[in-house]
Symmetry: C2
Subunit: 157 residues, 2 copies
């Protein structure tokens, strides 16, 4: 581990500690570009009544807002815990280059968080999951996809 990795992870950990004391969840994250922290985030699900307000999601939203760009290519994320599948997928969608984490999904499970359970569900074929999805086929279901396919000025991501 180099001293930069240690410094940025230390910041994510500090955020996670302070966040518990101020009524949030025990998670913190920072996003780094060219050796500088450009955003941070903590878990505020219950404080903000937003089930998507995890540390990494908040850090990504803050970074994209700051850079005015939906792509965070060239950025790294340091998070106090292995991202849950929601946050890990958001990191992929955001094109972040590298992910550093400290605690694991198993550590999170030990204090009552469902990350490990959701990972298992997502890796299970749809019809064998505890929580199945129901397909509803209706006319025009594919119309938006066709419009998208042939749209000349679309912005892909």
């Amino acid at each position: 581990m180099d001293k930069y990795q240690e410094k940025f992870m230390q910041k994510a950990i500090e955020l996670s500690i302070v966040n518990v004391a101020t009524g949030g969840g025990p998670f913190g994250a920072v996003i780094v570009k060219k050796g500088e922290i450009i955003s941070d985030g903590t878990n505020n699900v219950t404080k903000k009544n937003d089930p998507t307000a995890h540390a990494e999601i908040n850090a990504i939203r803050n970074a994209s807002k700051k850079l005015k760009n939906f792509s965070l290519k060239g950025c790294e994320i340091y998070t106090s815990c292995e991202p849950c599948p929601m946050c890990l997928s958001a990191i992929y969608w955001a094109n972040i280059d590298k992910i550093f984490y400290a605690n694991t999904r198993k550590d999170a499970a030990r204090i009552g968080f469902r990350d490990e359970h959701i990972y298992k569900e997502l890796s299970t074929p749809m019809k064998k999951r505890m929580f199945p999805l129901i397909q509803v086929n209706i006319k025009d279901a594919k119309k938006a996809f066709e419009l998208w396919e042939y749209k000349k000025d679309k912005v892909s991501y």
Copy 2:
């Protein structure tokens, strides 16, 4: 398929079609509680510079804000396309009861979206993924988890 499922899915599909015409992505979703639509969402990743702004995430945020509750127990979501792993995980975190979808992740892949790729990555053991995570162990990494474990007035979710 009952007429309610058809009606709510029709609404999600309409949102997806209109959204392409207004510069968004080809996805729409609605959240239903006790037979009524309580929120909707469309994909505005590129319009809003927010890589997390998928249709389902936006619909969940809007519903939680409206109900002033981080739990959407008792709600159903109707989405024009099988949720990506970010959105599906958000649906789990939000405690939504049922998921209805029309198009599939393979349909989304055909028009250039990475849902299928991200599902595959998440199902692959961490060290075998194309995009590996790097663990950084530092002092105090678990302090927030310990504080959480023994916090008496915590709000779990």
